[in-house]
């Protein structure tokens, strides 16, 4: 039951170019979406989030776009830097449900080449 899907297991980009990571979801009850960055043998690090009342949220080099009708979100990193190389997880939750557990995608491994 993949409620959150990241269909690209890996992505390789050149330093300075844009990285676009994609995520799709099936549960229309999700109203909060988060991106986490993870290095091997470390915990997920929160990157950026977006609530369902917005369609765009920006924080420095990172922008998340939400298309509710398509149940799709994307993370744009521009310009990409070698230090951005990591696994990026998309996660979603339903707010106000008392638990707000996160449902994760399988992750996309981003490699930024110098």
């Amino acid at each position: 039951d993949q409620q959150v899907k990241q269909n690209s297991p890996s992505l390789s980009v050149q330093e300075g170019r844009i990285s676009i990571l994609n995520c799709d979801y099936t549960n229309s009850m999700f109203d909060y979406f988060l991106w986490y960055k993870k290095y091997p043998a470390e915990g997920p690090t929160f990157l950026i989030s977006i609530s369902s009342i917005k369609d765009k949220n920006e924080d420095g080099r990172f922008t998340v776009f939400l298309n509710k009708s398509a149940k799709h979100l994307s993370l744009h990193i521009v310009p990409s830097q070698p230090g951005d190389s990591a696994v990026y997880f998309c996660a979603a939750s339903v707010s106000g449900g008392g638990s707000e557990k996160l449902v994760f995608g399988k992750g996309t491994k981003l490699t930024v080449n110098p």
């Binding site: 986490y36 043998a41 470390e42 915990g43 997880f89 638990s99 996160l102 992750g107």
Partner: protein, 115 residues
């Protein structure tokens, strides 16, 4: 910057043994969570905890698992009789519990290996 801490970083145990994984959530946070990631798989929710009781648990969180907040700072996950398939990275997370759209912050994880 406040962070979630977890101990131990690595734990090796024999099948059938009990293990306790420890977490110190961010100090003013009210919601606590355990997740796990089996090698090569996605991060999976185990349990959420609020106001000294379980808010929600997944089907993975069976009778062999329990959680506790024994004092004002620690949050523990106990596995009573470990199985080989419990081998995974276990992550603790916390959120501030103000309501609305909650961001969860994760600890560095405990790598559990059951032999």
């Amino acid at each position: 910057e406040p962070e979630v801490t977890q101990t131990p970083s690595h734990q090796v145990t024999q099948m059938g043994q009990e293990v306790i994984l420890r977490c110190v959530p961010i100090s003013n946070h009210l919601y606590f969570y355990w997740y796990r990631q089996i090698l090569g798989q996605k991060v999976e929710f185990l349990v959420s905890f609020y106001n000294n009781e379980i808010s929600e648990k997944s089907e993975i969180f069976d009778d062999q698992f329990s959680v506790e907040r024994p004092d004002g700072s620690n949050f523990t996950l106990k596995i009573r009789s470990t199985k080989l398939e419990d081998s995974a990275m276990y992550f603790c997370a916390s959120s501030d519990g103000r309501g609305g759209w909650e961001t969860q912050y994760f600890g560095p994880g405990t790598r559990l290996l059951v032999l």
